[in-house]
Symmetry: C2
Subunit: 308 residues, 2 copies
């Protein structure tokens, strides 16, 4: 049975087994990067899988820790990559959910200081969460002599290619005030880019701020349950009727396990079958939540199963 | 007895007690920031204390996690603040010791990729450790399309006010090679600056790289024992004959404890007497090394004791 510690099977399934699993579920949650697409290419079959599941009357959600895009740009990407019929309300990105967290759950009074790119800033704007904007780099300015805003009541840290030392220092200064909330979009430590290279993720920048501020961030993205709560606050989703499909054991699969969903690992992204098996063999309470119930090579396997 | 767990007394001493302690020691190790100076001001009495101890035939060492200056600039600062007779060979900064580590202990073959400022770069140059220099920021360049050097065999991370996202990403890419050494100048999480503001320390930047690379850095600075080994490789220092004077429980005092020195906390810097007492009361193996043997309000107390 999915959900109980020690019972996850890490079972490779295909064909009829995949079909039976999906027949028993009303909701399918997909991670995006490494699951339905890889950069600017859809994983073969992904657009058809999404369409077929919807035709079967299932709800499909996209649950991504990638905070670089506002949902509006996700919509464009879905369309560009050949996905049809995806609705913006089905997209739960860590940027969107962070805005929801600050607005709805934390009822923030004041502004947010943001380490993060356009994705985060646009979602905050859309949600009506005020944040510090338009800061200009003044050459030679240091944390000793730069202005700080008195109405900052939260620091939000996410992936930011424009990160610099002064931004990091400002975030830490705001967090000296114990009343100032400390929120991180997601804990992803790194992301693969081209040619075996990697880029630091939100989790890396969050670790820098956590260390310097001696505080722990509230993490919105997977594996935190908040993203599921966010979906559940807008849709009627029964965890027992839902499956999470992801490529990263430490985020997607733990998220599914934590929220009581069935979990399926696809091998087109970060984690490998061997890593999943190693977690299963270690069999500690810590590693058990990283063991997927099911494993498929690719979302293509789901398409083959649905078409059989 | 200093050195045994559970036995540290956190005892406030003055006058004759200080004099007796110092009479029994041959070597006095001072941290710098918050102990002998505060920014551009000497703590009152510090220059005289250093001179008097030297006149009494004691060896004095300066052991600092501050990696922003090469020892040459430390010499100028000592002189500017009224210290006389300080020798460059008595200064053990985390920048200098990192260069020694790479050169002497790791016998590095290849170049170092540096996150760090002038202090680190000048010490590497002085020690003859080659590193990647003269990188120019190309607007719009990302980790996908920037050049990486094939002969980088170590990443050294220290305090760097010119930190940016691309530097962080490059460090993480180099560390994909398991043969590439990962060294951190020091673990200081943050530093106080003016007006209650703080700046992230080397430990904060190291945490970002550790998280993104999924590796642990070899930390050169206090509380690692390496800085004492570095002194001991150049001078005849018996730990039992030595006292470490510092302002930070988690670095200076733990360093002294780890190396078997007597430890003295001064209250002119980061840590407070209450924090030291709280660590003593918790009385766990973890916190015991943070409890100083002795506490003085300021180095001024040492001057008064020596002059009595």
């Amino acid at each position: 049975m999915a959900g109980a510690v020690g019972s996850r099977s890490c079972k490779k399934i295909r064909g009829a087994q995949i079909r039976e699993l999906l027949e028993a579920k009303a909701n399918v949650l997909f991670d995006c990067d490494g699951v339905i697409w890889d950069g600017e290419k859809a994983i073969p079959g992904a657009p058809e899988v999404v369409s077929l599941l919807k035709q079967q009357g299932k709800r499909v959600f996209f649950v991504t820790n990638n905070c670089t895009r506002p949902r509006e740009l996700y919509m464009q990407k879905f369309s560009r990559l050949g996905f049809t019929g995806v609705e913006q309300e089905e997209i739960f990105s860590s940027a969107y959910c962070s805005a929801v967290y600050l607005k709805e759950f934390a009822s923030l009074q004041g502004r947010v200081y943001v380490i993060g790119g356009d994705g985060v800033q646009k979602e905050l704007k859309e949600a009506g969460v005020p944040f510090v904007e338009g800061e200009v780099d003044v050459p030679g300015q240091t944390i000793s002599d730069c202005p700080l805003e008195s109405d900052v009541k939260a620091v939000l840290v996410g992936y930011d290619e424009k990160l610099n030392f002064l931004k990091l220092a400002k975030a830490c200064c705001y967090l000296r005030d114990a009343e100032c909330l400390f929120v991180s979009t997601d804990p992803d430590p790194w992301h693969p880019v081209r040619g075996g290279r990697i880029t630091p993720g939100s989790g890396s920048l969050t670790a820098a701020v956590e260390t310097a501020s001696n505080r722990k961030a509230i993490v919105v993205g997977k594996p935190s349950k908040f993203m599921f709560e966010c979906i559940a606050s807008q849709f009627d989703v029964d965890p027992a009727q839902s499956v999470m499909v992801g490529d990263r054991l430490e985020t997607d699969i733990v998220f599914g396990s934590n929220c009581g969903l069935s979990t399926m690992l696809t091998l087109t992204g970060v984690s490998t079958f061997e890593e999943a098996q190693a977690y299963m063999e270690r069999d500690t309470p810590e590693t058990q939540s990283m063991v997927p119930d099911y494993v498929v090579d690719s979302i293509t396997d789901i398409l083959l199963a649905l078409k059989e």
